[in-house]
Symmetry: C2
Amino acid sequence: MLSKKTKYGLKALAFLANQNDRHPIAIAEIADHENISQKFLESILLSLRRTGYLGSKKGKGGGYYLIKDPSEIPMTTVMRALEGPIAMVSCVSLNFYEKCEDCPDEQSCAVHKLMLKVRDSALDVYRNTTLADLIIQVPYSQ
Amino acid sequence: MLSKKTKYGLKALAFLANQNDRHPIAIAEIADHENISQKFLESILLSLRRTGYLGSKKGKGGGYYLIKDPSEIPMTTVMRALEGPIAMVSCVSLNFYEKCEDCPDEQSCAVHKLMLKVRDSALDVYRNTTLADLIIQVPYSQ
DNA sequence: TGAAAACCTACTAAAACTATAGGGTAAATA
DNA sequence: TATTTACCCTATAGTTTTAGTAGGTTTTCA
């Protein structure tokens, strides 16, 4: 199941992408519009900022804004920042690889074989989907 | 992350598929071979039995065995029995659909749009992968 | 200088997951 | 009839994750 953190993070990004211009929008405004606890959203936006696609400005009139065009923001980065590894087991993770302590041989492991396929297909989706795809109605996307 | 229940379940199925014949194998033997707590495996095999692909026999010489050929056992059924819904949010689930209570409109929801794609790609993998694919070394599967 | 807003740390309540344990019932075999 | 093994139920303890909450610090603008 997708965590609320990821849900909220995606909704917040979509909200920012839907703005006409790129002026800063306060956390409070986003939280209010998307029905998210402000404090919770605060921590979410903070982790999204580390992707480099989200900028912030402090003080009066400050807030968060997209640094790049939505079409240049791939879901791979966003999902890794929000949900963590895309792989369902660490032994097939590209960025967070770790050997399973109980598995003697990865090559012959059924779990490994299956999860490798699942990871590849998920990666394919995330790499080919940008924030722009999530807000514009495309009749026959793909 | 994949639960241990699913990991163990897949390993147990693969172990059964690797047998020469289809005679019953006791839980204790599977648990021992795959390093799984016997009681835990017991409950896992029970839920797998409900898929109709796994048979059991009580009494002396009893145990679990595959009812169908591994090539006829699709991962869709297995994963649903072990992990539950394939979709990451209930609003895109085929078998467990439920409307998100906080989302006013699915059509315009960014989370919905993205997770629909992810579900489709995962389904594609599970539908086209059978238990046989997880045990036999196929050079260029797909 | 004061207000507004992001930033940062720490804490917490609840839920889920993992694994084990115990107990008993039902069915099959010898 | 005795043994073996699956079936089924409950409980529990420990750990981790989730979804926040609280409170203070820093930066920026007017």
